[in-house]
């Protein structure tokens, strides 16, 4: 039962990184060039999906609170600066994308676009540091509380944050090659390939820093799984690059999507059976079972989730289906 909920939590957070990830990637790419028409077209490509993407985060946190209350408090409060950074980014992107086209003047729109760029950067950076914070263990004391927040400031956390920024940028560019009109998509292909290459470099760098870090080595319960999944992640990125070269944007997008989902699986599998590994008091480490809500609560939520999940995923799939294909002259422009 706990495992099912843990998997569901992972599914929703990974879903958020994949879907919100391309929002932030597209957001980062608004920094490039000054052509307002291009920026509007890029946002029109995200268009109908935008609102449905970010709720994966809201749902993930809801599951975290309902099914893993013990983890919720310690994880969020124990990674306060990283979570607050990510949260600030999420808010800036949400407000920026939805409001940028409401003012009349081009100047105001350009200002909002900068807000979106900064927000995308903060969101990706923040979530990267949160994931790194899990992998390198936290100072969880015998009283069950994480002591302080300075444990977050390590080279590994910085490297992971940067890696996630490059990952979302590459993912966003790949999304645009898939979704923008064919001519524009073609023009973006070289950029997407370059961004994927830099993501490969950044992920490799973060992996090396991680392998050199004592804390990461001590916290990892299954280091081999971690390394294997990292190799898989880099493989996905290589595949995406190759697919773009062969003008297969659909395959490339699937591959970058896998690359954004894998970090969540990696953290979960490498730490299993723990969710929070203590760096100061081994006995204080929190397992998935300890972190979960009591059986009655999980049972109640389970009865609800069984009929609900197909509906949730079904309506999201409906949105993807209705608005599938490239944007063209008939696509509504609202953001």
């Amino acid at each position: 039962m706990e495992f099912a909920w843990y998997a569901l939590l992972g599914l929703f957070f990974a879903g958020y990184l994949v879907l919100g990830g391309y929002d932030y990637g597209v957001g980062l790419l608004l920094a490039r060039g000054t052509d307002p028409a291009y920026r509007r077209a890029a946002l029109a490509a995200v268009g109908p999906f935008f609102l449905g993407n970010e709720v994966w985060l809201v749902a993930a946190v809801g599951i975290l609170f309902g099914a893993f209350p013990m983890l919720e408090g310690e994880l969020l409060a124990g990674s306060y600066p990283a979570v607050a950074t990510a949260l600030t980014g999420v808010i800036l992107v949400t407000a920026g994308v939805q409001l940028r086209s409401r003012p009349d003047s081009g100047r105001a729109r350009a200002r909002w676009d900068r807000v979106i760029v900064v927000g995308s950067l903060l969101a990706a950076l923040g979530w990267g540091v949160v994931l790194a914070g899990l992998l390198q263990g936290v100072p969880l004391g015998p009283d069950g509380h994480v002591a302080g927040v300075t444990h977050l400031f390590t080279p590994f956390a910085a490297a992971t944050g940067l890696a996630l920024v490059t990952l979302v940028a590459a993912h966003g560019a790949t999304f645009l090659t898939l979704r923008m009109p064919a001519a524009e998509g073609d023009r973006l292909r070289p950029l997407a390939r370059r961004l994927i290459a830099s993501a490969i470099v950044a992920v490799t760098a973060a992996t090396v820093v991680g392998l050199l870090s004592d804390r990461v080595r001590a916290a990892a319960q299954r280091p081999l799984v971690g390394v294997l999944l990292t190799v898989l992640l880099i493989g996905a990125l290589l595949a995406a690059r190759a697919a773009l070269g062969r003008r297969r944007p659909g395959v490339a997008f699937t591959a970058t999507a896998v690359a954004l989902a894998l970090p969540v699986l990696l953290v979960g599998a490498t730490l299993w059976p723990y969710v929070l590994v203590s760096t100061i008091e081994p006995a204080a480490s929190l397992t998935v079972t300890d972190a979960a809500a009591s059986a009655a609560t999980l049972r109640l939520l389970g009865w609800l989730a069984v009929p609900l999940l197909p509906a949730l995923l079904g309506f999201q799939a409906m949105c993807w289906w209705i608005f599938r294909g490239r944007t063209d002259g008939r696509a509504l422009v609202y953001w």
């Binding site: 809201v58 081009g106 809500a293 009591s294 999201q316």
Partner: protein, 418 residues
Amino acid sequence: MDTLLLARLQFAATASVHFLFVAVTLGLVTLLVGLQTAWVVTGNPRYERLTRFWGQLYVINYVLGIATGIVMEFQFGLNWSGLSRYVGNVFGAPLAIETLVAFFLESTFLGMWIFGWHRLRRGVHLALLYGVMLTAYASAFWIMVANSWLQNPVGYEVRDGVAHLTDFSALLSNPALWMALGHVVSAALLTGGLLMAAISAWHLSRRTPDHALFRTSLRLGLVTAALAISLVQGFGFAQFGPVGALQPTKFDGNPEADALIADWTARFGAGDYLPPVLANVGLGFMILIGFALGLLWLLVPLLWRDWIIRLRFPLWLIMLSLPLPFVALILGWIAREVGRQPWVAYGLLPVEQAVSPISPWLMATSLIGFTLLLGTLAVTNWVLLARHAARGAADPALGRPPAQPPADDDTRPEPAFA
């Protein structure tokens, strides 16, 4: 500096801003459903224009509901980690249900609704808006289940110092829930209705060329607001009974309160178990506003033969009364929430046990940072709302046919491929 005080201030600030926006969301979406249904049923293009105009304002307002709502959700974990630790087994369930049943679907539907004009069949497009409305009400319901549990914890037992869920149905039949839910929902309807009436009144007072359109929304808004204020009053007075019985310390000193405080002192140690005196000041003021807005009924007969428009001064009265429901919303919540101090969960979990053990500096940074961020966004959002409201219904961006070049609001040529 005191971490607890800062955390409370932050919750109060974020919740207040959130509620100012979501009350409008909840009220307006109900009216929008009416307008779009009228459009689909009658095929009258005036209703399409009304749907686009009010829908545009609704969507702009929605943005800050999301932004502040996300901060609310994270705040529980960031600032109140003890809440999830001690009562998360019970309190977390309705919140988790809310995010899955309500928000997830609500935003998915809304995205499809915004981008579905001219693309989806009319019936499907309308069904999406019904979906948005139903999930919005579902969210209000589940959040009130959660809040009412904090007001009056039920359906649990404490084992090893942690509350465990024993009876979920008790959460749904919580006596603190139903009257409060009715009160909150009708207050939201009142706010949405009055907003619609006030904006329409502004246009009519300036002799808008769109007279017929704003006449319709003035009537709709005013009648909704009048019906809603009576419900607000009814549910409001009906709350005194259950709340007074469940929370003897909330309103005034009385024998039950003294007995309860003696009991708490025995169980939790000596302490100040009375809420701050200012908790109830706002309550009286809110009730005053409630009676004042009851006078909206006097304007309803003036709808006959459009006297309300011809006389003009009623239009000004409506515009001047627009701030009142917003003030009342905040005052009511402050009474409810500050009135349960010093408890997060009444009689079960004191606030100082629920607050996260983090440094006051971190908490202060968070308080200042998020308050400035959300405050700035809220003001920006209201400015945009006011501008779009003032611009009138000539050509809202929402639902603009893709081929049609935008009228005045976009001076640059549209990208050929967008």
